[in-house]
Each structure stands twice: as structure tokens, then as C-alpha cells.
């Protein structure tokens, strides 16, 4: 089985600050693998624990993203591919998904196809939740979004989705795209020796736009319908009051307040 795991490098939220004008201060920001993508990698490695599989970590970004892919290699990925090109600058979720989809097709053409594409449900920075979904659409593959308790056989992927009114368990035939939410598993950690060897003894393949046959009109800002009009920190919400006393007393006080405001 061949599995591609899409990985995005993001800033660890705890290490960045937002100014009062809404500007991000990333000077002391630490770059990490997007938490949901680490969960996706963990799902891939669990499949590999149970059956022969090749796990390929795939990412798009600048040279600094190589560190995220090396971390994926140290954790257990077999191969890592970095898509990096000035032509990709300014790409939104749709343009990124296009490049990733083309890269996945290239990986598939270069070997025994690709059976499963895993990605985090959403990134911790932009949080669009669009890339995995768009890859599935562009490749014409079935998909399961926000998958928990993933179970993969040679022929199909089965997972549980949490919906507002309950859970449902669904199956899709392979090849398929499965997106995994953060905190859906506990990603394994890299062993010391793997970490110490990962820069000197492993390679990250670097692909440019020319390596994967792309329609240039679908790249970068030209291929990105998203326009960011304004960035701003969310309005602080009032803290709220905690009503104390017995449940009966609290309920009485609550109803009185709602009445006073004319809400009921």
C-alpha cells in the first residue's frame, strides 16, 4: 500500500503574538508540523504497522519547510517530497491543492500508484479546511472528512465522522482521500537515533513547478480566488457571569436576567 500524507508547516500558536493592529509578530515563532497533519501521519504509520506500506510525506512551501519533512522522516515516513518554487508564492487553499494533486499524480505515475491520501482536516493557521477536500475533488476520488477511528484494508477505508446529532461510520473504496482532525490520536514521537540521523542520512526530494507539469494560470496569486481584505484579532467577548447556588437558585436567577433583557 502506498500512502501520501500532506503536511503543512505552521507556527506554534504559543510562540507568536498578535499586535493590537492585528499584525502577526512571528520573530520568536517556532515552526511545527500542523497538529492535525501529525495525526494524519500517525494514521499512516499505524496502517504501516499492520501491513506492508510506503508512507510518503508531501509538503508545499519555502526552504524552511524541509525541517517539517525531516521531522516526518524521523517519526517514520519512508520518503519526503518538498514542492518549492517561486511560482507557488501567494497560493491559497485551492492553488495549493492543485499543486499537491498534481504532485500526487506524479508520485502515482512514478511507482505503483497511490492508494490513500491522508491530510489534516484543517491547518492551525489559516484554518480553511479546504486543501484535503479540494485534492479529492481535483483527483476525482472519494473522501472522508474529519475521520476518526480509521480502519483501512486493501480495498477500502472506513471511519467514523462526528456530526451534530451523532456519529456515523462510512466506507469509501480506495484510492481515497481521508482528512483527520487534530487530537484524534496521539502521534508517536521520533526516537533519538532517528532524529540524530535524519539530516545526515535521509533525503528530502525537492520538486519545482517544472517537475510536475502544471497549468501556470492555476498557481500563485493568479490561481487563488481568495483575497484577504483585512486581518484583525477577534473582538474580546465579555467574560460572562457564573451563577452560584443550588441548581434551582441558579435557574431562577438566569430566567430573571433573561426576562429583564426581554429575551424571553
Amino acid at each position: 500500500m502506498r500512502i501520501v500524507v500532506c503536511i503543512k508547516q505552521v507556527f506554534d500558536r504559543a510562540t507568536i503574538r498578535v499586535s493590537s493592529r492585528g499584525e502577526l509578530d512571528t520573530r520568536e515563532g517556532e515552526r511545527v508540523i500542523n497538529p492535525a497533519d501529525l495525526c494524519a501521519l500517525e494514521e499512516a504509520l499505524r496502517i504501516k504497522d499492520a501491513q506492508p506500506a510506503e508512507v510518503i510525506a508531501l509538503s508545499l512551501g519555502g526552504a524552511e519547510v524541509e525541517d517539517a519533512l525531516r521531522e516526518a522522516l524521523a517519526i517514520g515516513a519512508d520518503r519526503a517530497v518538498l514542492l518549492s518554487d517561486a511560482l507557488f508564492a501567494g497560493s491559497d487553499a485551492q492553488a495549493v491543492a492543485y499543486v499537491l494533486a498534481r504532485a500526487i499524480q506524479t508520485i502515482a505515475a512514478g511507482g505503483q500508484g497511490v492508494d490513500l491520501i491522508l491530510a489534516g482536516s484543517a491547518s492551525a493557521d489559516s484554518g480553511d479546511g479546504q486543501v484535503g477536500v479540494a485534492i479529492a475533488e481535483m483527483l476525482g476520488l472519494p473522501q472522508i472528512t474529519d475521520a476518526r477511528f480509521l480502519d483501512v484494508t486493501d480495498k477500502q477505508a472506513t471511519a467514523t465522522q462526528s456530526l451534530e446529532d451523532g456519529d456515523r461510520r462510512i466506507s469509501v473504496p480506495l484510492p481515497a482521500v481521508v482528512t483527520v482532525p487534530r487530537r484524534s490520536n496521539v502521534p508517536r514521537l521520533a526516537a533519538v537515533a532517528s532524529i540524530m540521523n535524519v539530516y545526515s542520512q535521509r533525503t528530502v526530494e525537492k520538486w519545482r513547478a517544472a517537475d510536475i507539469e502544471l497549468d501556470l494560470a492555476r498557481l500563485g496569486t493568479a490561481g487563488s480566488p481568495t483575497v484577504v481584505r483585512r486581518s484583525f484579532p477577534p473582538e474580546p467577548q465579555s467574560k460572562g457571569d457564573i451563577l452560584t447556588g443550588t441548581p434551582r437558585q441558579a435557574a431562577t436567577a438566569l430566567v430573571a436576567r433573561l426576562r429583564k433583557r426581554g429575551l424571553i
Partner: protein
């Protein structure tokens, strides 16, 4: 000059920090309270290769060197000194003695299971009448055919009651004393005549096991002479040199945790109508802690770099040990002061940090002995020999 850590060491720190968050932090207070060895943590740490962090990969180690080992000591000690004490005794002195002076056969036999954490190691030098005066050890080893027969006892041995493999120092020629009369042995706990005596109850590092070891006609195969016959005292001193660097790194972690706790409390605690962080009395303590920590960090990692690049480092190792442990003690003291009476409460992190910090001024050579090591080296360079 470049002070950045290698990419490998940065990823190692990140990984260890995540391990500490997941596995060490949740039970740190509990193992202290219950005086319990955190076996679950040790097993998980072993799987990731933490128990062989500095040693070459050919022996099953992580290949992260002294710098990697110091990173681990710093990160774990930020949260749990007990856990780091267990790992430190295992790696930094118990296994280190075999790594530094073991024969190729001994290294091939003992290092892989120790690096993988399948076995735990300890270092047994101190005796009731031979603490700082380590040359006065009395445990005797007498040759009997292909064996040595050991008689005597060791005290305050970290991991004493939980280790499988011990680096043990015994007198083989009383006439020669420390200069040629002490030999190191690799003793397995299953050797006949070896047993664990009293297990100590302690003020700090309570999750680590400190015990007395008793040797009664303990038979040790002659091939388990560690390194050169009669050169055991040199093995002990060489091993302690390396161990001391990591004591400094662990102290760095403890000091950083104290500063973090003090800052968090100073921001939250209000007196006279504002957070106490607004008071210069508090600010001065915080600034002094931060400056000392920064100095210690530089000394720790520069000395670790000296170890990894095979430079002489005995003097710096002694400095790291005593300076580091005293920085940590001052930091926990100031942090406790900032916490006021709240800092004395059981369950408040600084209360445990305060109790855990004190041992670092004592073990692996008291700070007084380490000052003498530094001064002896300084005077040696001007041709003056300091009498032991």
C-alpha cells in the same frame, strides 16, 4: 562564533519537551508524594532511546553526544528532578564508566542493553566513611582464581535498589590506596553475595531510589574488571567529570522552571492594588534569576561542546556543577520568596522544586570538593600542587 544548536539537537529538544509534557508532567507530583519510581515513564523513555542518548549508535545509543544529553537533562528537570536523577545515574555515571573505560568485550556485552533501557545502571563509589574523601573506600576485592571476591558496603547509591548493572569501586591493594590500589568492577545484581540494604527516605528527588548496597563474599568474574586493574580511581574521576556537566544542565532546567513559576505568580498575584510584578523588589529578583540562568546556560552548553569535541574539560565540569547547582538553589529560593506562603503548600510546583534542588549541591562531589578541583587546576598551572 555560532551559538545555535544543530537542527538535530533542536528537533531532539522539541521531541523531549513533548515527551515531558505528555508523560513526565502528569505524574511528577504523584511520584514525589508517593516516593515511587516512575517505571511507566522509564519504559516509554527507553523505547525512544532516551536511556542511551549520548552514546554512539554502534552500541545502541542515540548518538546525540553530551550536548544532546544536556538538552534532555534540562528539559526533564524543568518538570521532574526525580525522573532525571534516575536517568542521570543510569546514563551519566553507571553506564558512562563502562563506556569510558570498558574493554571492547565489556562494551559489546553491556552497553546495548543499557542504551536500550532493557537494563538499568548505577555507580557505586561512596561508602559510610568515604564521601568527599572517596580515596578512603574500604570495600575489598580479593582475587580467587578466575574471580574476585568483594566484601563491604556502599551507601547513597542512586538507582541502588532498581539497577541491574553496577559500576563498583573496590580496594585491590590497600598499600597503594587510590594510586593504583582501587579497581572498578562491573557487578550484576544476580551475582552471588550481592544484595540491596536500606532504601533511603529523602527530602527531595523522592521518586528516585537511593539505597545501600552490601557485598558479602560477592563473586565477580575476573573478566568483569572494568578497564585497567588498579586504575579504578581514575575511572571514577573521569566518569564523575562527565556526570557533573549534566548535573549543571539539570540544575539549569530546575532554575528555569523556578523563574517561569515566579514570573507567572508575580503577574497573577495582586497586592497594594496591582500585580506584584509592578514592584521593584520582585523585578530585581526576577532579573537576577534571568541573568544567572543565562550565564549558566552558556557555561553548560559550552562545556558540553568541549566534551563532544574531545577538549580537556575537568575544570569546566566542576565549575558547571557547583555554579549550576547554586544558581538553581538561589532561583528556587527567590521563586519561593515571590510565592510567599503559597510556595510552601504541598502540590505547588515550587515547593517540590525547592526540595529537589538541594541535592545538586551535594551529590557527584560536594560543591566544596568541586571548588577544590577548580582551584587545584588553577594552582597546578602556576606550578603549585594542592594537597588532597
Amino acid at each position: 562564533m555560532d551559538f545555535t544548536f544543530s537542527k538535530e539537537h533542536q528537533l531532539l529538544r522539541k521531541t523531549i519537551r513533548e515527551f515531558v509534557r505528555r508523560e513526565v508532567a502528569p505524574i511528577a507530583a504523584e511520584i514525589d508524594e508517593q516516593e515511587r519510581v516512575p517505571w511507566e515513564t522509564i519504559r516509554k523513555a527507553a523505547k525512544l532511546g532516551f536511556l542511551g542518548v549520548p552514546f554512539p549508535q554502534e552500541y545502541g545509543g542515540g548518538g546525540a553526544g553530551e550536548i544532546g544529553y544536556c538538552i534532555m537533562a534540562e528539559e526533564i528537570s524543568r518538570v521532574c528532578s526525580s525522573t532525571m536523577t534516575i536517568l542521570g545515574a543510569h546514563i551519566g555515571i553507571g553506564t558512562m564508566a563502562i563506556y569510558l573505560d570498558g574493554t571492547p568485550e565489556q562494551k559489546a556485552r553491556y552497553l546495548p542493553p543499557l542504551c536500550r533501557g532493557e537494563k538499568l545502571a548505577a555507580f557505586a563509589l561512596t561508602e559510610p566513611q568515604a564521601g568527599s574523601d572517596a580515596a578512603r573506600i574500604r570495600t575489598r576485592a580479593v582475587r580467587d582464581g578466575n574471580y574476585f571476591v568483594l566484601n563491604g558496603s556502599k551507601i547513597w547509591i542512586t538507582n541502588g535498589s532498581i539497577a541491574d548493572i553496577f559500576s563498583v569501586f573496590a580496594v585491590t591493594d590497600p598499600a597503594l590506596g587510590a594510586r593504583g590500589g582501587v579497581t572498578a568492577f562491573i557487578v550484576e545484581k544476580s551475582f552471588p553475595g550481592f544484595r540491596v540494604g536500606t532504601v533511603d527516605e529523602k527530602m527531595g528527588i523522592r521518586g528516585s531510589a537511593t539505597a545501600e548496597l552490601i557485598f558479602e563474599d560477592c563473586r565477580v568474574p575476573a573478566e568483569n574488571v572494568l578497564g585497567t586493574f588498579g586504575a579504578g580511581f581514575i575511572t571514577a574521576l573521569k566518569t564523575l567529570d562527565v556526570g557533573r556537566v549534566t548535573i549543571g544542565a539539570a540544575a539549569l532546567g530546575g532554575a528555569e522552571a523556578a523563574l517561569d513559576a515566579a514570573v507567572a505568580y508575580a503577574v497573577e498575584r495582586e497586592q497594594f492594588g496591582q500585580p506584584i510584578a509592578q514592584k521593584q523588589a520582585i523585578q530585581f529578583m526576577i532579573a537576577d534569576m534571568a541573568a544567572e540562568i543565562e550565564a549558566l546556560r552558556s557555561l553548560v552548553y559550552r562545556t558540553a561542546w568541549m566534551v563532544d569535541t574531545h577538549r580537556p574539560f575537568s575544570r569546566e565540569a566542576a565549575m558547571v556543577k557547583y555554579f549550576g547547582s547554586e544558581v538553581a538553589s538561589r532561583c528556587v529560593d527567590r521563586a519561593l520568596e515571590i510565592h510567599g506562603s503559597n510556595g510552601l503548600l504541598r502540590g505547588v510546583a515550587i515547593e517540590r522544586g525547592y526540595r529537589d534542588a538541594r541535592i545538586s549541591e551535594i551529590f557527584e562531589g560536594t560543591n566544596e570538593i568541586n571548588r577544590i578541583v577548580v582551584a587545584t587546576d588553577i594552582f597546578r598551572r602556576v606550578g603549585v600542587r594542592i594537597n588532597p
